[in-house]
């Protein structure tokens, strides 16, 4: 017998059970489907249960009393298994279809979710074809658990920068190709931001309802949009740098910072811009994108830092 057939039979049996049923009763019910040998049968049953649980199927197990004292009984409550009525209006279903066709999250999760919530017969013809605009969001296997913890107000624990963290999640933000978790880090009693892909290992989700998100919390507002504005511990004497950009590249900086950032326009078409440099490492990454077409004019400490960096690579005096 194919394992899929046996697992489907097991699922049907557990869904139909009016009370918790024991492994022996399951084995009797699914006559001949589990091996004769008890150890092998138990192992196969555990594997089947594992497949069902991995698929998110809630198997309720209890230790029974009475005649069956000490044995474990299993069942699946239909109310726990079945998706509730969502009753999407036609325009809502269409909008979700467009969203799923437009956004890629690197997995088939969205499409599988759509199949579940959008079972309506009437709208089959109203499906988007190939879409000419597609946005990709980064994916990380920990994100669903962080989202779940956020929704349930469960404290999450994980390792970040080699330190154990216990975090009350206040918000999840996708920005600039990365996902960030913002929340209250109980380990240091402060609001902290964590880049999700830099979390090491698994995320453990605690009990629901463990905290409240502060009123009016705005995940976008607490996290500066420009990484160069995130303060670090490097003091270069100012939070703003004057950077001379060659005429060939001024268009890029104007698109990023606008004309308000222009300090000086020179006759050759080059321009001096005010650029945030609170985070020197982020500033360096931005600056070196221009290679030889940009020059830090001020503050002097930042200019000296750039020179030292270049000399470290081999750009001798």
């Amino acid at each position: 017998m194919h394992q899929l057939e046996r697992v489907t039979n097991l699922l049907a049996l557990l869904l139909s059970a009016r009370r918790h049923v024991t492994f022996e009763e399951i084995r009797l019910g699914l006559k001949g489907q589990y091996p004769e040998n008890l150890v092998a049968a138990r192992a196969a049953f555990e594997r089947d249960k594992g497949i069902l649980r991995d698929e998110g199927i809630p198997i309720d197990s209890v230790v029974l009393g009475g005649d069956q004292a000490g044995t474990t009984g299993y069942r699946i409550l239909r109310s726990e298994y079945e998706l509730g009525d969502i009753d999407l209006e036609p325009d809502e279903a269409t909008a979700l279809r467009i969203a799923v066709a437009t956004i890629r999250i690197g997995q088939t999760w969205s499409l599988e979710a759509l199949w579940k919530v959008d079972q309506d017969v009437a709208e089959d013809s109203d499906r988007p074809g190939t879409t000419p605009i597609i946005a990709s969001l980064p994916v990380d296997s920990r994100l669903p658990f962080l989202h779940q913890s956020l929704a349930a107000r469960s404290v999450v624990s994980f390792t970040y920068n080699d330190k154990s963290r216990e975090v009350e999640s206040f918000g999840l933000l996708a920005r600039g190709g990365w996902w960030y978790l913002v929340g209250h880090d109980r380990s240091v009693n402060e609001l902290r931001t964590f880049r999700v892909d830099r979390i090491s290992g698994e995320v453990n989700v605690g009990e629901a309802g463990a905290y409240a998100i502060p009123d009016g919390f705005d995940v976008q507002a607490v996290f500066p949009n420009d990484p160069k504005q995130l303060p670090d511990n490097v003091d270069v004497g100012s939070d703003v740098a004057q950077v001379l950009i060659d005429a060939s590249d001024v268009g890029v900086v104007l698109a990023q910072y606008g004309t308000d950032a222009v300090v000086e326009e020179r006759a050759d078409g080059s321009m001096v811009f005010d650029i945030p440099c609170s985070n020197v490492r982020a500033f360096d990454q931005w600056l070196f994108g221009f290679v030889e077409r940009a020059e830090v004019l001020a503050p002097p400490m930042l200019r000296e830092h750039v020179v030292e960096w270049l000399e470290g690579i081999g750009g001798t005096r």
């Binding site: 489907t8 009525d85 467009i98 590249d249």
Partner: protein
């Protein structure tokens, strides 16, 4: 010809549990339509449904899932077990909500409002009343929507495009086929009409553009993982604590089969689009990385640093 391996049991089960209630709603459906809806081959569909028709709490025909396949259609009889889909899993709920939130950045107000209501209903079905703390920022440049319109109609577009390698702009004639985001940037995958080949244009480098009414028949096939048009493979050795600089780029692989001559450094293979791209990367990595191959670029970092350093000698 490559042979596909057997489909995993969990994948087939997941699909069955969503297909059976869908089929129950419809009663009779053509196998071709059903296979297309669930993105599988007709053969795989028939194999899975035939197997499902043998399933139930016992082998008594009255207990089996009541469906049968004949000719080109599949029929569902009396509902017994899987009347509704399984509730959304954590990954499915996350993905659907995140997709909807992201799409709200791209959609018009009408669709945005419908999406908001849809997400609220989905969240409510999961027992979540407030899901506003998941935010997706996706700000397509103004060109994105118009170029998407051009892509949908395969319309020719004339544009002024700034090329960083040369630091100058030039006129291009293209037919966009797809507008997409990757990391923090937006791109238009296109047929370049001058060279007659596929080229990918970064939207923030388009200085101006104009849609024409000229329509072309263009099919460029699926997008490649790494969409630069010409690439070179470069091997670096580097301090692993600086890997974050490379995180934003596709085509980066740590080569664990090779060890670096420097203690605790790692060997990394990088896909490089052009010399200037590599110059930028090497400046960003500083003294924390070194080119191993190709030899022709082994002194590129020092040469580039020297050129840039010269500006600071004035």
């Amino acid at each position: 010809m490559s042979r596909r391996g057997p489909r995993p049991v969990n994948v087939r089960l997941r699909r069955l549990l969503v297909m059976l209630p869908w089929l129950q709603e419809r009663g009779t459906v053509s196998t071709a339509e059903m296979a297309a809806h669930f993105g599988m081959s007709v053969d795989d569909l028939i194999a899975d449904l035939t197997l499902a028709s043998l399933c139930g709490v016992s082998q008594d025909p009255r207990d089996l899932i009541d469906l049968w396949v004949d000719e080109d259609a599949v029929h569902f009889g009396i509902p017994k077990y899987f009347n509704k889909p399984l509730r959304l899993t954590a990954p499915e709920a996350f993905s659907l909500v995140a997709s909807a939130r992201a799409a709200q950045n791209l959609a018009g107000a009408e669709i945005g409002s419908a999406l908001e209501r849809a997400v609220a209903k989905v969240a409510h079905s999961m027992g979540i009343d407030d899901d506003n703390q998941l935010v997706v920022e996706l700000e397509p440049p103004t060109a994105a929507k118009e170029l998407a319109v051009a892509a949908a109609g395969r319309r020719e577009v004339h544009l002024e495009y700034w090329t960083p390698a040369r630091g100058e702009s030039e006129e291009r004639r293209i037919v966009p086929v797809e507008v997409f985001s990757e990391g923090e940037h937006w791109y238009a995958r296109s047929l370049d009409l001058v060279v007659g080949e596929e080229r990918t244009f970064r939207l923030d480098r388009i200085e101006s553009f104009e849609l024409t009414d000229t329509i072309h028949q263009v099919d460029l096939g699926p997008r490649r993982e790494w969409f630069a048009d010409e690439t070179t493979h470069v091997t670096l050795e580097m301090d692993p604590s600086w890997m974050w600089v490379l995180e934003q780029y596709p085509g980066v692989r740590v080569d664990e089969s090779r060890s670096s001559k420097r203690k605790s450094w790692v060997v990394v293979n990088v896909t490089v689009t052009n010399e200037r791209w590599l110059q930028r990367l090497l400046l960003r990595l500083g003294s924390n990385a070194r080119v191993i191959s190709p030899n022709s670029w082994s002194s590129l970092a020092a040469d580039t640093a020297r050129d840039v350093r010269r500006r600071y000698s004035k």
